[in-house]
């Protein structure tokens, strides 16, 4: 495979100003990541600071409801409340070893911003977070946490004031400060080498999952279901299983209100290959190649692009691209609350919703793992408000 490519997807489509920073990062990752010292520090932090390994929980009541065995890989229990910390700790540590002084990043739901400032503080790096102005308003509780932790939060007013615009703004900021600053990208998107780095740091999820399911079931699972937009939690869970053809992999994107171009974030359903934020990937766009804004209630899925690796895996048929609509997602939140006493993040609830809404996809003797990527405390207000809206005709 060509460097930085996943089939036809990927690449390094950035301005010349940033190329040196990407080449430097590629070199540093190759050199530093495999060292014993880095592995020791990284896994030490994941364990003692993050709380890994996260459990694999047999969701007995939920299983009874759907009629087959469902396990939850509990990334919601990772410190910070989502899988985001795996990658943030890895990259912050790498940035520190590269001699960088500062981290910048963007966030939508706020989970990645939170993970970045936590990792930044642990590694002694300053943190600045770009956030679409609409997301700043929608995710007020996470903004407060980030500020409390010492991050500078910069609202982005350009464009529609959502994640896509925040990513563009962070890339612009990075162009001006890449010698001293690391852009800690939160998902498997962006120019090479970011998609590879993020997937590598996240694959701890799948590695643990493999061991745990073998212990509990004595065999590999029949299916793994994960939500996503860029694809970091999904790839983290999928990676160690990609060669295991018996394991079905489901990627659930944000269907939004309905499967129409104006109301959805489902780029695999409504998009086509295009170049956004430095990489060639499946993306929502018009016939001229102008990027279309995505729409979903789950801020963390509200991105018009699918990362290059997940784009490739779906194209070759290894991963099944699926979606869940908002009303199915809110129902899934309720079901998870009632059956297991867990409030899932709206993003995570997409994976739950797919399992609930598509019983035909699974056999009664299947072992299904949902990558339970995050907890829903941040979404309680949105969930209650949207349920009211959905219930009022």
């Amino acid at each position: 495979m060509k460097r930085g490519r996943y089939g036809r997807y990927g690449g390094m489509y950035v301005g010349e100003v940033l190329v040196h920073a990407l080449l430097e990062l590629e070199e540093a990752f190759k050199r530093i990541y495999p060292t014993e010292e880095f592995q020791r520090e990284f896994h030490g932090l994941l364990r003692d600071y993050g709380g890994r390994p996260t459990p694999l929980y047999y969701a007995r009541n939920f299983s009874k409801l759907v009629g087959f065995k469902v396990y939850l890989k509990r990334e919601d229990l990772l410190c910070g409340g989502s899988h985001k910390l795996n990658n943030a700790l890895g990259q912050a540590l790498l940035a520190k070893k590269m001699g960088k002084r500062r981290l910048i990043t963007e966030t939508a739901a706020g989970q990645h911003g939170l993970a970045t400032v936590m990792a930044g503080n642990v590694c002694g790096l300053e943190t600045e977070i770009f956030m679409g102005i609409k997301d700043v308003q929608r995710q007020a509780s996470n903004v407060k946490k980030m500020v409390l932790l010492g991050a500078k939060v910069k609202p982005v007013k350009a464009g529609a004031g959502v994640l896509k615009d925040a990513v563009s703004e962070t890339l612009r900021e990075w162009a001006a400060c890449s010698r001293t600053t690391h852009y800690l990208i939160g998902s498997t998107v962006g120019p090479h080498p970011f998609p590879e780095i993020v997937a590598t740091f996240q694959s701890i999820i799948g590695e643990e999952l493999r061991k745990q399911v073998l212990e509990k079931e004595g065999r590999l699972p029949d299916a793994i279901v994960a939500c996503g937009s860029g694809g970091s939690n999904a790839l983290g869970a999928f990676r160690p299983f990609i060669k295991e053809k018996s394991v079905r992999l489901y990627f659930v994107e944000g269907g939004g209100e309905s499967r129409g171009a104006e109301n959805s974030a489902a780029a695999f359903q409504l998009g086509s290959p295009g170049v956004l934020h430095g990489g060639l990937m499946m993306v929502l766009q018009d016939t001229w190649g102008q990027i279309r804004p995505s729409k979903t209630r789950a801020a963390g899925l509200n991105y018009p692009g699918r990362g290059p690796e997940i784009s490739h895996l779906c194209e070759v048929g290894r991963v099944k691209p699926c979606y869940a609509l908002d009303h199915e997602v809110f129902k899934a939140v309720r079901m998870m609350c009632r059956t297991e006493g867990l409030i899932p993040a709206l993003e995570t609830a997409h994976a739950v919703a797919y399992v609930l809404s598509n019983p035909d996809e699974f056999d009664p003797d299947d072992v299904v793992v949902i990558n339970y990527s995050g907890r829903g405390d941040k979404d309680v207000e949105t969930i209650l408000r949207c349920e009211r809206e959905l219930n009022t005709p």
Binding site: G15, E16, R172, A175, A176, C177, V275
Partner: protein
């Protein structure tokens, strides 16, 4: 005529002891009629080469001034086809002015690079500049462009290593575009000493004309950069800023834009004279 217009332009300017003034306009901001007037004003007042920008929804190498220009133009419904049509019109009225089509890679990618380049050629433009297409990604397209007798204008930056600089210079066609600063378009270039050193370094590695862009907003900066050895400067956001501030009627801004265009061109001329009259420090 199509294929050698750019070379002839640089050659003519060299003979006249002038640096080149490249003016960058995002087409369709705030409307097509204004853009045509703006380009006319620039051509009549000292612009030697027009960089005609096709607006893109996510211009990651552009600062707030050009971002807003793209947003306004797209809101107004401008399409790549309309921009290429404008290039053709411009070719008819300004037969001697080379035109470079500037846009982000997704626009030609979606149209099909082959087809896009055919349209560029049919419009009478001389080449393309794609800021998010570094040399590695541009390589598969270089031969295709050369066969169509079009230039892919490559960029170098202060962060470009010596090794990359050689690779880029070897693939360069038309002119080499040096980004003056670490940042995006419309950023103020505070001091010119650092960029002067980069200009000298690049000139030592490459014989192709060198145009410096980003942050050049007045005659003084243009003069300093041309005096340091550049063959020209590119100016864009500085023009857009002037008319964007007159929201009511951008046409009112044209005299001021004409004034700035004059000033930049004068800087390009004075810079070259200054260079010619400064004894070389080599001996």
């Amino acid at each position: 005529m199509n294929s050698t217009l750019l070379e002839e332009k640089f050659e003519g300017l060299r003979r006249r002891f002038e640096g080149a003034h490249v003016a960058h306009v995002y087409y369709g901001d705030p409307c097509e009629r204004f853009s045509l007037k703006l380009i006319e004003t620039l051509c009549e007042n000292g612009a030697d080469i027009i960089e005609l920008g096709i607006p893109f929804s996510d211009p990651i190498a552009d600062g707030p001034i050009f971002q807003a220009a793209c947003e306004r133009a797209l809101k107004n419904g401008v399409t790549p086809a309309r921009c290429l049509e404008a290039a053709r019109k411009l070719r008819d009225s300004y037969a001697e002015t080379p035109i470079i089509i500037t846009t982000y890679f997704n626009v030609p990618y979606i149209m099909g690079f082959h087809k896009f380049m055919d349209y560029v050629r049919a419009a009478g433009a001389q080449g393309v500049l794609i800021p998010d297409l570094p040399v590695e990604e541009a390589e598969p397209y270089l031969n295709l462009a050369a066969k169509k007798q079009l230039h892919i204008i490559l960029q170098v930056a202060p962060t470009t290593s010596e090794r990359r600089l050689r690779r880029i210079a070897n693939s360069a066609s038309g002119f080499l575009y040096l980004i003056s600063l670490e940042g995006v378009t419309g950023t103020t270039l505070k001091r010119t000493d650092a960029i002067k050193r980069v200009v000298k370094k690049v000139k030592a590695k490459s014989a192709i004309p060198l145009v410096v862009g980003f942050g050049i907003m007045d005659g003084k900066r243009a003069e300093a950069i041309v005096a340091a050895g550049a063959d020209g400067v590119a100016v864009g956001s500085a023009y857009t800023k002037i008319y964007a501030e007159r929201r009511g009627n951008p046409l009112d801004a044209l005299p001021e834009i004409a004034g700035l265009a004059h000033e930049i061109k004068l800087g390009c001329i004075l810079g070259l004279h200054k260079r010619q009259s400064t004894p070389s420090t080599c001996f």
